[in-house]
């Protein structure tokens, strides 16, 4: 398996590539694409990078200490990672979240932790931010739609929170409930999915050190469109498994019903581990387009089993038929 465990002495990709560089990388590709199409290369305006910088300029810094679990791959530009999102509460077009998520209020914010736990509690976001040391984790992110990014997240293992609320013996699964407020989220008016957006993990998946309770990215707090102020990141599963703007974490005995599981049970399984051998009914999962890199100049890359995290998470699924439990 191609896991690159990062040497902590190595700088993070976000440090290697100055912001202006990784912001402008895509522009070069677009210009090159036009050259391929037979037109002379004109100087592309720095408009897009400037727009994104202006919109994200006011985000508070949230540093995290480098983690050996980070990949050394080149990080996607913040520009791309914050303007190409699936967050249906703000609309189904991938440009909608960046356009409309400004209406999301991330303070005050609380997260209710309840269900099969000895110490249920409502956490204030400020308390959660300080619950454990923040780490920077550079993860691959593979969307079920066939594209991927590399994102330097900031957060700490979900297990830190789980340990503190002491799950009972009945806690087999965790359900994540995300915000559904029509006043802040224009997308809720459409019936594309059942709201609130629900996701879930098996207990051992949630306890895995790679499962990250995430508060920031690129050294700052999360932009609203990326799931502020608190989201989940489960890098070996398709992106939709990582709920955004979480308001409730419920420990359950039975496997929770997820929003996508309800909308398309034959297409979106509970596990939804990245798996190049199990196609989505309507498209292949064997390859992916790395945003900002693959396209005009470079063909799509092969998708790796468990998104390249097989060495760490493979044992969670030992003996399971992953075609059946997709």
């Amino acid at each position: 398996m191609l896991i690159s465990v990062r040497d902590p002495s190595q700088p993070a990709a976000s440090e290697v590539a100055p912001e202006a560089v990784y912001r402008s990388r895509r522009r070069i590709l677009a210009a090159a694409g036009l050259a391929v199409a037979g037109l002379p290369l004109l100087a592309a305006g720095p408009a897009r990078a400037q727009r994104a910088s202006a919109a994200l300029g006011e985000l508070a810094k949230l540093p995290g200490k480098p983690s050996p679990l980070s990949t050394m791959e080149r990080a996607t530009s913040l520009d791309d990672a914050s303007t190409y999102n699936n967050f249906y509460e703000f609309g189904t077009d991938k440009s909608d979240p960046a356009r409309y998520a400004g209406s999301l209020h991330t303070r005050p914010w609380t997260v209710v932790v309840e269900g099969e736990v000895a110490k249920p509690k409502t956490f204030d976001i400020e308390e959660l931010l300080r619950l454990a040391p923040q780490e920077e984790r550079i993860y691959r992110m593979r969307c079920v739609e066939g594209w991927s990014m590399v994102i330097p997240w900031v957060g700490y293992p979900l297990s830190e929170l789980i340990k503190r609320v002491e799950p009972t013996g009945n806690a087999k699964y965790i359900e994540f409930v995300t915000l559904a407020d029509p006043k802040q989220m224009p997308g809720l008016r459409s019936g594309v999915l059942g709201w609130p957006y629900l996701e879930g993990l098996r207990m051992d998946e949630a306890m895995h050190p790679l499962s990250l309770l995430t508060f920031g990215m690129y050294g700052s707090v999360l932009p609203n469109q990326n799931g502020a102020p608190i989201r989940l990141t489960v890098p070996w599963k398709y992106g939709f498994k990582s709920g955004k703007s979480i308001v409730k974490i419920r420990f359950t005995e039975k496997q929770p019903l997820t929003s996508w599981g309800r909308a398309g049970p034959s297409e979106y399984g509970f596990y939804s581990n990245v798996n190049p051998e199990v196609d989505h009914p309507r498209w292949s999962q064997a390859t992916e387009r790395r945003i900002g890199e693959d396209g005009f100049l470079q063909r799509k890359r092969k998708t790796l089993m468990f998104n390249g995290y097989g060495e760490q998470v493979g044992q969670l699924y030992a003996g399971m038929d992953l075609r059946k439990h997709f």
Partner: protein, 211 residues
Amino acid sequence: MGSIGWLKTAIFVLSLVPFLRLFVLGFQDRLGANPIEFITHSTGFWTLTFLCITLAVTPLRRLTGWQQLIRVRRMLGLFAFFYACAHLVTYVWFDQWFSLEEIAKDIWKRPFITVGFAAFVLLVPLAITSTNRMMRRLGRRWSQLHRLVYVIVILGVAHFWWLKEDKNDLSEPWLFAGIVAVLLLFRLLQPAWQRAVRSRKQAAATGAARS
């Protein structure tokens, strides 16, 4: 050049706008994080739109009585083919990088690609036989052949429908389906309506003769 000549020129220039827009957006770095997806969706959208506009020519002609309109239909149809080619080239080149094996697998395994590809294949003979010479040579069979466009547009909407299903958001496919339904219903109902008008006139005429 008569008024239809100017109209033709205007339509030609306007029809190129969506294509040129892609280049302008590209230079301005406004194609988004996934430019290939943007171009694919845009060229697909305009293929369907031009098919619908082409199919609207006959109803418009009947409703307005402006017979000259027929003279812009071929160009509109060829623009539908042009955008379909751009759509296919984007897929074959930048999405699949000419991997014939992958393309064949896609066409075979995925109904959404199967249907879209079939629509393109059916468009090819229509584009080839769009010249005056072919029209003359084929005679009555030309209009029979060109009725394929009804099948093509239905396949096109199905292609779009299946694509949008993954977003669980079918508002745009519904819109296209509605427009196509109206355009096709016009053709189904129009002969019957004309017959009814004609027979009513005849009845009136014979009634008048009898009295």
